[in-house]
Symmetry: C2
Subunit: 370 residues, 2 copies
């Protein structure tokens, strides 16, 4: 993986990420395709739209369709017909959040499947092996993502486990030659404790590893804590490596994160909100189900040129959402992903033009209150 | 509306239907878009695929979004961005089948909404007015579709009501100038009673009306009864008018109907089955959820060149259906509609080539048992 920074605007960076024949412009927003599908999107359209990097989830894909099916189809990218970049998160967060009776040991995490209750055991090594079967371009290490809020003791415990597992992941990744085809990122933890966050970033920075991620944020902490945790991390992490903020999301969060030097983000918001009838527009969020959209012949977003904004009215898409029609979900999903891509492109241009701070102020105003 | 028959092969007909700038090749299969959306399909794709005539439903559209919304958007075609032909059925069948406390009087049908229980009253005239607001190219009269099985007395009652309502619909349609923009079809009823079916076809044939439909079939009657009722009707109905068999369907039913001189058909099967993971293929029906599709890298149909057959494997689409992902529904729906269109095209070519009877035998063999 090669990362080249074209331009900075204070801490914000406009760069290019290159790996396995794929080129990704940063800052980049990555749509989430948990089970090998970005929900309600045809991947050919996602690619035509301009996306080059999406997410899959190791925990979910390990359970369904499972390694045997993925291996027989030549990995997830061939399975799902996705010809660009793929990042998988490690499943540590899902093993903790979706499973009952999760138990951490020094060696790994025991959990029961949220589907059939069957028992499973993830070790740092096993998670690297699974991601190798999945065939990801960017792989994540198993980590211990402490819940928010957690005591300092719980955070420290989680941090030690995360660091020890990161070392083991890193070793296993190299020893098995996985480094020939994939890029391993660290995960910086430490919650919103400045001391622990610093310690974790320092540990991550000490490793010779292709990139770094920030975990455990946007989980309910205050805006100031969110920004402080990012600022501490990015001030320590090496400037020449890509930085990925996991599970973030909203327009204001993305603006703050990019301002603090984050290059990559993923979130289910554009796709999940779409299924609930909420779309992002150039003028803030819009709830399609609202009564006052009934007669509207305006597009979802008057400044958008996506397929559904060019061809369908708010009034019609409201009707689809009120009657629970799948086309309503398809329309809102397509629009939201188109919107995010173009929002990120405009942000990148602002960094290149040296106008990032006015871009940020403008969009914070449009998305006041979230 | 103009109907031109290019070629016949015994009773089977290959024709062209022209109305309001739209040209439809017959025999034609019409996808069902009950609520103003052919479920899980983008209409732009439906049009690109080659469809020129789809169905809407008066009962459903009257309840949601309602006449006020449809009128404010300039009719259903503008509302849903559909630039080709639209046929609406009258809602008589839904008022009967979906509503509780339906009551027929000589004047019309009282029913309660299946959504909120609100009381409504459809008269033959009102149903024509609603379809005028919807802006349909082909409109149907309110009818009394007796349940199957029904006593001869109930069938006769239904028939008399249907005929009286047809006359009123026809008069209202002409008096209001609806005949300038739409084509009204009759509905021939009479269940599987040969005497009543003949009487109904004779009554319909006596009217100067653009086309004729056959109702009340494919509702559980025997194959022989189904064919006899069609044969009686088509032997009486004028040869130069299009004939539309309502709510049919399956590959064998379509073959039998076309053989007996039917030109138009609609059915929810391709879209509904798709949502349940069942696709039509060149080799019969295929249940995508089946275990033995797990590792399959074959397309849904090896003889199909639709977008999803060109790009996605059975194994992947099975995974999507097993995990209830919307893309699985999108893929199966797209494929089934593509399949139906091409099946109808090949059937039309067979009529033109004079090879319809071997075409029919071949496809009946592929779809033995349904």
């Amino acid at each position: 993986m090669k990362f080249h920074i074209e331009k900075t605007s204070q801490s914000a960076r406009a760069g290019v990420l290159r790996f396995n024949g794929t080129e990704v412009l940063t800052p980049v927003f990555m749509p989430v395709g948990t089970l090998g599908t970005v929900k309600a999107m045809d991947h050919a359209q996602l690619s035509e739209m301009g996306y080059r990097l999406i997410l899959g989830n190791t925990y979910h894909l390990y359970l369904r369709p499972g390694e045997e099916v993925l291996a027989s189809h030549g990995g997830l990218k061939k399975f799902m017909n996705w010809q660009a970049g793929l990042l998988t998160d490690s499943g540590g967060f899902q093993a903790y959040s979706l499973s009952s009776l999760t138990k951490y040991t020094a060696d790994g995490v025991h959990f029961k499947s949220h589907i059939d209750g069957s028992p499973h055991f993830f070790t740092p090594e096993k998670v690297q092996d699974i991601q190798n079967v999945i065939g990801s371009d960017i792989v994540m290490p198993l980590d211990d993502c402490a819940p928010y809020p957690s005591s300092t003791q719980r955070l420290r415990e989680g941090l030690e486990r995360t660091h020890s597992w990161l070392e083991r992941s890193h070793r296993h990744w190299k020893e098995n030659g996985y480094d020939k085809t994939s890029a391993l990122f660290s995960i910086v933890q430490g919650g919103v404790d400045p001391v622990l966050r610093r310690e974790s970033a320092q540990f991550a920075a000490s490793l010779d590893i292709p990139g770094h991620a920030l975990g455990g944020l946007s989980v309910g902490e205050k805006k100031e804590q969110f920004r402080e945790a990012i600022a501490i991390s990015t001030s320590i992490l090496p400037a020449d490596k890509p930085r990925y903020l996991m599970g973030v999301g909203s327009i204001p969060e993305i603006l703050y994160a990019v301002e603090l030097g984050v290059d990559m983000m993923d979130c289910v918001l554009p796709t999940r909100n779409a299924r609930n009838g909420q779309v992002f527009t150039s003028f803030g969020k819009l709830n399609l189900r609202r009564e006052d959209n009934k007669m509207s012949s305006l597009p979802m977003d008057t400044e958008c040129d996506c397929h559904f904004c060019r061809n369908y009215s708010r009034g019609y898409i409201r009707h689809l959402h009120k009657t629970k029609e799948i086309l309503g979900i398809m329309a809102a999903t397509h629009h939201n992903l188109h919107f995010m891509l173009h929002f990120m492109r405009k942000m990148r241009e602002a960094i290149l033009d040296g106008t990032f701070s006015s871009f940020k102020a403008d969009w914070l105003e449009r998305y006041r209150g979230g």
